[in-house]
Amino acid sequence: MSQLPNQTASKSLWADSVLRLKKNKGALVSFYFVSLVCLIAVFAEVLSPYPFHKQHIDHLLESSSSKFWLGTDSLGRDVFSRIIYGARMSMAIGIFTAIISMVIGTIYGGISGWVGGRVDSIMMRAVDILISIPSLVLLILVKVVFDSIAFFENPELRALTGMLLALSVVGWVTLARVVRGQVLQVKELTYIEAARALGSPSWKILFKHVFPNILGPIVVLLTFQIPSNILIESFLSFIGLGLQPPYSSWGVLASDGWRSMRSYPHLILYPSMALGFTMLAFNLFGDGLRDAFDPKLKGKS
């Protein structure tokens, strides 16, 4: 059967990749850093000294002290706690959007590439059209439209919906293109042609052979999508289309801080640092991952 050699091949490919990744110190450190941020995001309630919305009216705009480690903002809220909760929102936005885009993009690109022919060209035309609309306009339109519709009862989710949808609408297109390209390549491989000749159903081949083979590039792309989503979110916050208060992401905190940069540098400094280091870590990790997954570079390091 054709499954056997393939599975061992992909397994060793994975093992190989992980091995190469472990050798890359920068990527490894970044990976630990990103994991740490994720943990902070999950355990925000436990870690933050105050609830993120607690206003200390007598302590407006104070700089660092033993009571408020990173100072307070214009409503007297603890900046440190807000950064910790901001991690939750920022990471949620980054990761969920990336996952949504990945699911849509993989299905769309997979179908398009696998079926091919006329369907492929029509589906790709649609993608071309979506790409030709300035992403900014699309982002804003989708955000405004969906912010006015309340899908969820949970306030935290409701604050996120518009943002998630807007970012996903813009984000899935790139993934769809990459997946399609990969599927087109993989489709021509001999063992897949063999499986087809043997009459295996398409979905089986797709899930058993095609997707495991293209998982590498997708995962790499995903690690780059997360930071870019977080950045776009901060940009939207900057133009006043950020999350619904009192929730705030790092983007909201940084752009708020920017507006009082001269008087209260601590309001811009710490959120920017959190944002910047996380971006750096994601990108370094992504780079390492790409190098590790790229078979062409095998044996060079």
């Binding site: 214009s74 009192p246 920017w258 507006r259 009082s260």
Partner: protein, 529 residues
């Protein structure tokens, strides 16, 4: 052959380079710095068409290049009026008929003499449905004006405006302080010949004809407008020869440029930097006629309950909000803003958490019957957000209410207000003219700006009557006090919070920058050191 072709193309491209101009390399359009005032505007003025403009950037320019029949007089404690294109005016028939005597010898910037007909032309244009002006309703009090604007009446001669010699006679439907309206740019005179000649482009420099203290010299869209002293001006010539209005959108950028000495005057400052900026010697602040308030949706439970509204109002401390904003805003419990006729500091419900709890229990809410979900909403804006979050926190602290905050982008917000506003929604009002009527009439039961759904016929009647007592101030004040009581003590459909304060940065080289309650900036008396 190909070589010749290359040569041809090179010559062809180079030929375009002859006669190219040096850009304004010195900056400031090459104007002498010691005679040029440089101020900042935050957006490109949407229009310089007097009748069509509806925003405060456009009117900033308009009030410097045009004049109306009268101007504000800020010398007295309460804002009055001083002559401009009209030298004198008087009313008869209990302020229903008005007569304006037009100044003679005034010239437009193209040298043509100014005539009373130009004023009437302006009014006709304002009311003409084809102009589609936002401010047509300004003249609705003139007899038949509304019908003309609605297109029901085609003949303008039936509208209550007449020119007799150098007099303009106006006939109103009901009495009102009519001259105040004439300070507004929408009632300024126009030159119909110029407009018909250039169409919508008549406001461009070179086309536009005005008669104010400055002439529009240059308008580089999205970058700057340059105005220059009008040599034909009827009054005292402006002290500074040129003014450049630089279009700089972002507050932080504007402050950077101010610090770099590129800009002399900022009329708005970022609220979050105020506590830092107010320590600077260039900082100036003063209140202007405006109210920031929250309205209740009186058609939606639980805020349809008077007791709930009273409880909520008693539970919020205004001074906490103004302290938090650090902008020096004046807390306001009444409806007429600080600094205006009719202002009453002793009216309204004060902060009183004990009474708040009492009303809250009377309304039937407490441990056993938790308060239902309540929505606080505002339009997306930095300060609005802080205010809303503060109110949310105060309600949680004083009544244990978990209110939810909702913000919407401005245009969406306006639409929601019309359809079904949140329980507690932010709104504001900036005076068009310094008369309490301009503030009280927004809460009339039929007013388009009353989004609360609140109706009180007694209030309506009081406001409608009060405006007719133009000559009897004491009587008028008494009526406004009554209206005040209904509005902010008995029915409480609204929760006034504060009168806003203007914050400016004025460069030390600038002398005589205006500070007034109308937040307007005529620059003719500004001089430079």
């Amino acid at each position: 052959m190909r070589f010749l072709f290359l040569l041809f193309i090179c010559i062809f491209s180079l030929s375009f380079q002859t006669g190219c101009k040096k850009k304004n390399s010195k900056g400031d359009y090459g104007l002498a710095l010691n005679d040029t005032l440089r101020v900042r505007i935050a957006t490109e003025p949407p229009s310089l068409d007097m009748q069509k403009m509806s925003d405060n950037t456009s009117s900033y320019i308009a009030e410097n290049i045009m004049d109306g029949l009268v101007v504000f007089d800020f010398k007295s404690a309460e804002v009055g009026l001083a002559p401009a294109l009209a030298t004198e005016w008087k009313s008869s028939n209990q302020a229903k008929n008005w007569e304006f005597k037009i100044r003679e010898g005034v010239k437009w910037s193209d040298g043509q003499p100014f005539e009373p007909q130009h004023v009437v032309d302006g009014w006709e244009r304002l009311l003409n449905p084809n102009t589609a002006s936002n401010y047509s309703y300004f003249l609705y009090n003139i007899k038949n004006a509304k019908a003309y604007n609605e297109g029901k009446l085609k003949d303008f001669s039936q509208v209550g405006v007449k020119v007799e010699g150098n007099l303009i006679k106006v006939e109103l439907d009901g009495a009102m302080p009519f001259p105040f309206l004439l300070t507004h740019q929408s009632t300024f005179p126009v030159r119909k010949d110029i407009i018909s000649k250039f169409g919508d482009k008549w406001t461009e420099p070179g086309n536009i004809v005005t008669l104010g203290e400055y002439n529009l010299k240059k308008w580089e869209h999205d970058r700057a407008l340059v105005v220059e002293r009008n040599p034909l001006y009827w009054g005292k010539p402006s002290k500074t020869k040129n003014v450049i209005f630089y279009i700089i959108q972002e507050d932080q950028t504007a402050i950077n440029l101010f610090d770099a000495g590129k800009i002399d005057f900022l009329r708005t400052l970022p609220s979050k930097e105020l506590s830092h900026l107010r320590k600077r010697p260039e900082f100036v602040s003063y209140p202007y006629l405006s109210i920031t308030y929250y309205g209740f949706n009186t058609k939606r439970a639980p805020t349809d309950n008077l007791l709930v509204r009273k409880a909520l109002v008693h539970a919020i401390d205004r001074t906490k909000i103004t302290t938090m904003l650090q902008g020096g805003q004046r807390p306001l419990s009444g409806w007429a803003p600080y600094g205006m006729f009719g202002h009453n500091p002793n009216v309204g419900l004060a902060f009183d958490p004990v009474r708040a709890k009492k009303y809250f229990q009377e309304a039937g809410y407490g441990e056993s019957n938790p308060f239902p979900k309540m929505e606080i909403s505002y339009n997306t804006n930095e300060d609005n957000k802080r205010i809303a979050e503060n109110i949310q926190a105060q309600l949680r602290e004083n009544l244990g209410i978990q209110a939810e905050i909702k913000n919407e982008e401005w245009k969406v917000y306006l639409e929601t207000l019309k359809v079904n506003p949140s329980h507690f929604f932010r709104m504001g009002w900036v005076g068009d003219y310094p008369d309490p009527h301009n503030f009280f009439d927004i809460m009339l039961s039929y007013a388009d700006n009353n989004h609360t759904g609140w109706e009180n016929l007694e209030y309506d009647k009081l406001i409608e009557q009060a405006v007719t007592f133009v000559e009897d101030k004491a009587k008028r004040l008494e009526m406004y006090n009554k209206a005040h009581k209904i509005l902010v003590e008995e029915d409480v459909p609204v929760f006034p919070i504060f009168t806003a304060v203007a914050h400016n940065l004025v460069s030390p080289r600038v002398v005589g920058m205006p500070k007034n309650v109308m937040f307007i900036f005529p620059l003719k008396n500004v001089s430079l050191q």
